[in-house]
């Protein structure tokens, strides 16, 4: 087994990547599930982890583990260095101006909640409008609904144009003129649409609207440059991009973070505490109360190294090839309903078969070793709008292969036969 991100580099020959070689880095991908080789197509929910990430976490616990920031002993120094190095690595990964703009969270959901409960709660008033899109994951909808209940802000939505899943930006400037904050997903976890966030954020900026980008589905799949996107906040999770669970990132523009009140409170986020009052730490520590997930940050660091050794442009190209191949094969089924754009789709393919319910398909596919997702994918309002109670979803990552797409299609046909018999 190679160490660090070496194997990702070794898999590159003359700028061509041997994707099959990368699979060797993922111990779980060689496992059998229900007596069949695992075909893992649930990457939009969570990705698998390469040995390099697993080793980094193990190394941290074996050699460097201690609490961060406060200690004066060697291990604490090492843990602090590792934690802050991870923050610096994240800043590079998304081209943030400084590591001070990187807040570690538990994941995308916590990042979005943090913005809702700090910036938005502090700055929005009754009657103000928050602009969202109709394709948001519940994690980018419910926090704003809770805020609406609490302080009486209004929610408005950028519509989608049906099954194609593209945002209808016809009224965007009018909607922005009424809004104070815009929060939208970069890539839809249900439709696979890639939203033009750079254009949308530029138009929002012209209207003086604060922008939040949910990058849960995009961060490890396409290059992310927050300076180019021009967003005020951007959130993503570690576990969807080869990192461990329980670690995520909220990027925020420094001037906004500095003006925001703390999110949670306790140790780490303070400079001085008296019985009746406290002063708060500088950013980003002001938003990281309690002992942070140091091992998670270390694992995330390793994951980012791994991804960048491959290259995110190449990953996205590979994602798209597999998604397009899947759509091409699925579209041969009479009566199938495919969701998402026909061109420029990301790694997500959602569909409804004419004869087999998504849940039946996913249950029986699992029996054949194929991991799919069925249901509303935490986008209940979107599915209600599309008029379907559930879809089946295959979502890919760079370690998936064309042979796995073939296996998926084979299994779909087997299930359809079984259901029809």
């Amino acid at each position: 087994m190679n160490t660090k991100a070496e194997s990702a580099v070794l898999a590159k020959r003359d700028d061509r990547i041997d994707w099959a070689l990368l699979r060797d880095d993922f111990p779980i991908l060689n496992k059998q599930v229900n007596d069949h080789p695992l075909v893992y197509l649930d990457n939009a929910a969570s990705s698998q982890k390469p040995q390099q990430v697993i080793d980094a976490i193990r190394r941290y616990y074996e050699h460097d583990n201690a609490n961060v920031h406060r200690g004066i002993h060697e291990l604490s120094n090492r843990a602090t260095e590792a934690y802050e190095a991870a923050r610096q690595r994240v800043a590079e990964f998304i081209n943030a101006g400084s590591s001070d703009e990187i807040v570690f969270t538990r994941g995308t959901t916590e990042g979005l909640n943090l913005v809702a409960q700090t910036w938005a709660l502090e700055n929005l008033r009754e009657g103000d409008t928050i602009l969202l899109t109709e394709m948001e994951h519940h994690s980018n909808l419910v926090p704003w609904q809770i805020l609406a209940r609490r302080i009486g802000v209004q929610l408005d939505f950028i519509e989608i144009n049906g099954d194609d899943g593209q945002l209808d930006l016809k009224w965007l400037d009018e909607q922005l003129a009424r809004a104070r904050l815009l929060s939208l997903t970069h890539i839809s976890n249900t439709l696979g649409s890639v939203n033009p966030v750079t254009e949308i954020c530029a138009r929002a900026r012209d209207s003086g609207v604060i922008t939040v980008v949910d990058a849960a589905q995009s961060a490890g799949h396409i290059p992310i440059d927050v300076s180019e996107i021009g967003c005020d906040f951007l959130a993503f999770s570690g576990h969807k991009i080869c990192g461990p669970t329980g670690i995520g990132v909220l990027y925020g523009q420094r001037k906004l973070l500095e003006a925001m009140p703390p999110y949670q409170s306790g140790g780490e986020m303070i400079t001085k505490v008296e019985y009746r009052d406290s002063t708060f730490n500088i950013v980003p520590h002001k938003f990281e109360a309690g002992t942070p997930n140091v091992a998670g940050a270390v694992g995330l660091h390793a994951a980012l190294d791994y991804l960048d050794a491959i290259g995110r442009e190449a990953i996205f190209e590979h994602d798209q090839q597999l998604a397009n191949l899947t759509c091409e094969q699925l579209s041969k089924i009479d009566g199938i309903r495919l969701f998402g754009p026909s061109e420029g789709r990301s790694a997500v393919v959602s569909f409804v078969l004419p004869d087999a319910h998504a849940l039946d398909l996913a249950t029986m596919a699992d029996q054949k070793g194929v991991a799919l997702r069925a249901g509303h994918h935490c986008t209940q309002p979107l599915l209600a709008k599309l008029g379907v109670p559930a879809t089946a979803r295959a979502s890919f990552y760079f370690y998936n292969t064309e042979a796995e797409v073939d296996r998926l299609i084979e299994v779909i046909h087997q299930v359809r036969k079984l259901v029809a018999s």
Binding site: N34, A356, H357, D360, T363, M364, Q367, P389, A390, L418
Partner: protein, 136 residues
């Protein structure tokens, strides 16, 4: 054990041994398809169970102090399970329903894949049946 549950548990156990879980899927799909008398009009919000991955509808009526249930789902495997449960509880009094523990579904002998995914849903279905028959 309820007679209906025992009948299917015996069949499912035999199938699991000979054909594996795929055989159980087929059995449940076939059972769900057989004599599906649930009317389209009854697939309404009033009869709908919330929180299920598939849509599940259960309706009930009372005759001479006994409760009767019918159920349906848009997913075939779930429909088979719904029909087993609704039939098993039909003809019982409210007091009898009260006495049945919802973990009776463990006795159905479903394979590991089905039991991991559907057990919680089936227990919720039994709780739902208890609520609509006022046994809870």
């Amino acid at each position: 054990m309820l007679k209906e549950i025992k009948y299917h548990a015996d069949n499912l156990a035999q199938i699991l041994e000979i054909e594996g879980e795929e055989g159980q899927f087929e059995y449940l799909i076939d059972y769900g398809k057989k004599g599906n008398s649930f009317l389209e009009i009854d697939r309404n919000e009033n009869n709908k169970m919330s929180g299920c991955l598939a849509q599940v509808w259960v309706k009930s009526y009372k005759k001479e102090d006994k409760n009767y249930f019918e159920g349906d789902s848009d997913a075939l495997i779930v429909r088979g399970l719904v029909k087993i449960i609704t039939k098993a509880f039909s003809g019982l009094s409210t007091t009898e329903i009260k006495k049945v523990r919802h973990d009776i579904v463990n006795q159905l002998g479903l394979g590991p894949s089905l039991s991991a995914r559907r057990q919680v849903g089936m227990m919720a279905m039994i709780d739902h049946i208890k609520i609509i028959s006022k046994a809870k």
